[in-house]
Symmetry: C2
């Protein structure tokens, strides 16, 4: 077992390497050539269009101003300086609330650490059990942990008391945070300017009607049942084929632009090959070839467009229904329309850019079957994923490779390469699986039939959280695969399970400390360095970028991947909670992780990531629920651990804790959750009244008309439909979006 010295050394090394990452980051980010990698958000917002310094040719790529290097940690205060309201305007509420999870971790664990070091560490240290047992190797960390208190000792009452204090502190922090986030969300929704989704409801499972088209049916139904408020509606076309054609045409147009730029520069007609990617086939004049190809495709596209618009079968039984007022939409979204509750299903429409178009047409029965299958699938994925991987691993040995690729034999047989492969192969299947896992989970969520990107993200996060809980947390404590664990748990009594896990908890402290440093600290340092995007950008820039639009795409920073990163934070919170009463030494490491993550993610949100939807922090109830799960797990494990320590009253003294926690969850749910799923009528009425007073002549119908048209019918690029304009109406930070580029694209493709 690692001693305190070992851990200190390891911590020093990890801190140093993280520091090295930071220095590297500080240097790289100052180079103008990397500007688009480290500040893409500002480019996207149209505030920056080229690196700040311009002048000599060299300074375009390398920063020669030595003074900037001295203040290389300047980005940290800069990241912290932007006040929260401005940050909401700059990056959206989702990102801001996401960052608050790190802050929540700090709020939770700093007082916990102070208390634990003030009370529990002395109690443990003077326990003196380990010293009395001969022939036992123990480390200083163990002396600081609960293991050092002798069985049946009265000292455990300190731990029991502190676990109550910790729980109530967690309640306080969680409650205030939930309240704050709910208030932020309501303020955000109230301060928002007019948006199409405020007036719109998505209605699904429109029943077929023999005499009417879907569009007529929707119009008649809503005219009858919401006579005073119904405004207009938009049917949903099944435009998947068309979307592919539009994509293809855009690529061709891109090539055309590239060659015409080239022609302008060199004044030579460029050539290309007519085959795959311009690499094979007959050589042709590039400009002629692409213009004729574009023309051909345009005809096909127009035909397809015609077909989709006129074929009644291309209309899916769903529609976006808009109302004359927010009040009307709020009423419709929250009530049941038809006596058959599986048809005419209404819910709030997501933002236009948040819609996941493929899932709008799934009937109710199919939906429930899909959810059943995915629930069963998730169970097998979590508990049985090791089986196929073990199988693949058994195939992936050197003999196997030599059999399939005999020509590689001489290469593989070389001693050094052989040893590398032998060391590398066993883990490769697992690693590939883990890299693919978020994609698999997202695919499962898509099959489940959710209609917005934000809900897909939330569902995937839930699945990933379960996976981490079972396979990382439990898997590290009770060494063995999830399948073996499942077997153990099925064969043990419900009271035995927390004991089995609880007893192993103190022994795994050093492992998790190392885990926090290697995965947590290094992960965050790698996050800010953005090594992969940096390399990818320069590679793309050198070889692939043909036009300005291409450069934009190469620069695309993506968005925070909520589905994978939130469950990871939850895992660290779980670690902190579990160890707070057992081995408090772990807490400082967790605190450093949260503090560091907070600064880094604030920087990234300000400078890098660009959310592709804004859900108004609607993920918070999920975050809260998972925090509650972590608290309950930590309490159950403490009960398990203490019940092996020969103090009978401990279990009885601790049992109220999970009951209280569950009740706290119910209370918070009732108190705040509806702020995240419903839209109060009072709020809607206030905004409606205000709008009627300030803009009495507003033509709402024209405003909403095209908001929910499938992106392919707009002629703009697929990823960023028009309505994104509304969301970036930004009064604090000057973000005049570079709309020229967009309209250009529109005019050429339209």
């Amino acid at each position: 077992m690692a001693s305190l010295q070992d851990i200190t050394v390891s911590a020093a090394i990890n801190l140093l390497s993280a520091f090295a990452f930071l220095v590297a980051f500080a240097i790289l980010r100052l180079q103008p050539i990397n500007d688009r990698v480290y500040f893409p958000k500002w480019y996207r917002k149209g505030i920056r269009s080229s690196p700040r310094r311009s002048g000599a040719f060299v300074t375009k790529f390398v920063n020669l101003d030595w003074r900037t290097y001295i203040k290389f940690l300047n980005w940290m205060p800069a990241a912290l300086r932007m006040p929260e309201p401005e940050l909401i305007d700059h990056a959206g509420l989702d990102s801001v609330v996401y960052i608050r999870i790190y802050l929540l971790g700090l709020k939770l664990f700093v007082p916990l650490a102070v208390l634990a070091f003030g009370v529990l560490v002395p109690v443990n240290w003077t326990g003196g059990t380990l010293e009395h047992i001969k022939n036992l190797t123990f480390s200083d960390i163990d002396k600081l942990s609960i293991s050092n208190v002798s069985e049946g000792s009265k000292r455990f009452w300190a731990h029991i008391t502190m676990s109550y204090v910790f729980t109530f502190w967690a309640f306080f922090v969680l409650y205030t945070e939930y309240r704050t986030v709910a208030a932020m969300r309501l303020r955000f929704l109230a301060s928002e300017s007019r948006r199409p989704d405020q007036f719109t409801v998505i209605v699904r499972n429109v029943p077929p009607d023999p005499d009417e088209t879907v569009s007529e049916h929707v119009e008649h139904f809503f005219s009858v049942n919401h006579p005073d408020y119904y405004l207009t509606h938009q049917v949903v076309y099944n435009a998947n084929t068309l979307a592919k054609l539009v994509d293809k045409k855009k690529s061709l147009q891109n090539w055309y632009t590239y060659y015409s730029n080239k022609y302008e520069k060199t004044l030579q007609r460029p050539n290309t090959k007519s085959g795959f990617c311009g690499l094979i086939g007959a050589t042709v004049d590039a400009l002629d070839y692409y213009s004729s190809e574009i023309e051909k495709l345009s005809e096909i596209e127009a035909a397809e467009r015609e077909k989709v618009m006129n074929d009644p079968k291309a209309v899916v039984p769903a529609a976006f229904v808009s109302f004359k007022s927010r009040w009307g939409a709020a009423v419709c979204a929250q009530t049941q329309l038809c006596r058959n509750p599986t048809i005419w299903l209404t819910e709030w429409a997501p933002q236009p850019r948040d819609v996941y178009w493929d899932n709008l047409a799934i009937p109710y029965f199919e939906l429930t079957v899909r959810r059943l299958l995915m629930a069963v699938g998730l169970f097998f994925l979590i508990f049985f994923f090791m089986i196929p991987i073990t199988f693949v691993q058994s195939l992936a040995n050197i003999e196997g490779i030599e059999k399939v690729f005999p020509f590689l034999k001489p290469l593989i047989e070389m001693e050094t390469i052989k040893s590398v492969i032998q060391g590398f192969l066993p883990g490769i299947a697992l690693k590939i699986f883990l890299i693919l896992l978020p994609t698999i989970l997202m695919a499962m969520s898509k099959i489940e039939g959710f209609t917005s990107l934000s809900s897909l993200d939330r569902r995937s996060a839930g699945k990933y959280h379960l996976f981490i809980l079972v396979n990382v947390f439990l898997g590290s404590i009770i060494t063995g695969t999830a399948l073996q664990q499942l077997k153990t748990f099925l064969d043990q009594s419900p009271t035995e399970i927390p004991k089995t896990i609880g007893v192993s908890i103190p022994m795994k402290a050093t492992f998790f400390i190392t885990y926090v440093m290697v995965d947590g600290w290094a992960g965050i340092a790698a996050e800010i360095l953005r090594l992969v995007p940096l390399i990818m950008f320069h590679l793309k820039n050198a070889f692939l970028v043909k036009t300005e639009q291409d450069r934009d795409q190469a620069m695309d920073p993506g968005c925070w991947d909520f589905a994978t990163s939130e469950p990871r934070i939850q895992f660290y919170i779980l670690l902190g909670l579990v160890y707070s009463a057992v081995t408090p030494v772990l807490l400082p490491f967790i605190i450093i992780f949260f503090a560091f993550s907070y600064v880094v993610s604030r920087h990234q949100v300000i400078n890098v990531y660009d959310q592709n939807y804004e859900s108004g922090a609607s993920f918070w109830p999920d975050v809260h629920r998972r925090l509650i799960i972590s608290i309950i797990i930590s309490q159950l494990l403490l009960i398990g651990l203490l019940s092996t320590k020969q103090i009978k009253q401990s279990t009885i003294a601790l049992v109220p804790l999970p009951v209280l926690t569950f009740w706290f969850h119910r209370y918070c749910k009732g108190r705040f959750e509806s702020a995240f799923v419903r839209f109060p009528l009072q709020e809607a009425m206030i905004k409606d009244t205000l709008e009627r007073a300030t803009e009495p002549n507003l033509n709402l119908k024209a405003y909403i008309q095209d908001a929910y048209i499938h992106p392919v019918f707009k002629g703009t690029d697929l990823e960023r439909p028009q309505s994104v304009f509304e969301d970036e109406n930004n009064p604090l930070v000057p973000t005049k979006r570079n709309s020229k580029q967009n309209s250009e694209a529109g005019s050429t493709t339209g």
Copy 2:
């Protein structure tokens, strides 16, 4: 263990005794003197006002017409003859749907019994294991059960296959039943005439306002947020003291009427005593005494009434808000009003007679605390109720009684009495507890803060169901108290628990067969005989009844006690499901129970019981959920049983069943539940439109004005507020309510 002969004899005895009950019932019901006991519903409806036959003095009390005795089982076809729509009009949807649960039991178990006797009984009978084991006493019933199949035999696949067939049959029956009940409910709601609760929403947790009264605050809030639909509102007064005064005054008035009747008959001024119940104190002239008492009380009452009406503190922060249309009310009931979801809570108003007035003013936080406490309380009640009972039992022995009541000593010491007491005492505490249990559970539900009698009944039924499940079902299988069971379960692994229970299942078959006969058959026969109400009525009639109103109260048949009887049906369904694949011999007994119950309860609903609210079968989702729980329990127990039979694949083959059942539950819930909790806008709009067309000049405000006034402010009797008129608007059965009596009461008390 009981043999097949024993069971047959026992069945014959029980059938005979049930038959004797029926004969007794047939004779008693024909006596005119008992008419008010066996046909109170018709009296209450005002169709009967005196026994049918009138003539000689003797025939007023005894039926001498011998012909009527011959057709003594005539009531059975008569009970079955009334068609369902008429029955709905006669007794309300609640009762009709309640009776359908028995019918559901028949639909479920008749095909199951046919299949089980066709397939499983031959398979078991020829299994021949028990015959090969020497020195084992076994009965014929065991030969018919799964115990007779040898371990590891392929014959178990018959049981596995049949359990799939049973499950899918249960799905089919449950699904069609849920669909039917939902349709019945919607048809019922649609066919209903105008009722105040269709237009009204109850709003709770009205926040305090420093400048406005509750009434003004409600009016302003709804005028702003529902400007087009708000009609009027009624505040809720805390009128508990006043209600007590009104009750007391009514009793005095009753006495006054009694004595004035007496005076009219005898022409002698009657005397009474001024003390407790007219038994002690100074002798006074009765008429003078009561008229002066009434006058005194009237003054106090008027003062209290004044105080309640004018004291702002007597108004609780809740109100009944009425809207101009059903559409407006439906919208308000289903949406969230305020951004703080714990204030301005709206839900559908219950029927005026269904309101539980005491619980209207509980704030949100207190409500959640109460629910927590009651959940913990229920847990202790279920698992620890034996502790105080054992304690009381240890006190309640002969020596204890002699100590407390020494004067009883000579009596107790008599040999026969002593043995009776010794045999009787140990069980008495438990019996008293079981008799009190429904009242205790109802009190707990009241503490939980539900606002309508129907929801109180539903909650209590849920609690009682849990109690029966743990203490009757599990308690009978694993002999021992619930506390011992809890200990066993906590110490066993999750896979071990179904095994432990499952293995005991076949052995308990004869016990449960006896239970079905003794508790089920005899219980139903006792139900129809109504021995207790019969005796009570005659006792009251002889000694207490003073006026016509008193006779009415003595006749009061009460209503079906949903909270205790529904969980009992569920218990029989659970027994049938559990034994269908294990010991099918139990099924005929269950079927007889359901068939008999169906006829009896139909008769009782037609002739006896009078519901005191109509919830439109809103209890069905609960019934369905409990049925699903029973199915899952039966599947888990079968898995447990088969996993001890040395066939490995059995568990894997059966595990999909509970998963499928759970999914089926989710599917049905999504498909039908909202029909029971929400009111579709389409429906509301149709009724509104119809009403506007047929009655354009309706003065809705006047109609609703007084519907939701606390009964004491109406001057009518407490139990049956005025609006009951609306519900008995009965086109099929001629039910001209005897409204004279009511208005009389009104004029004297008002």
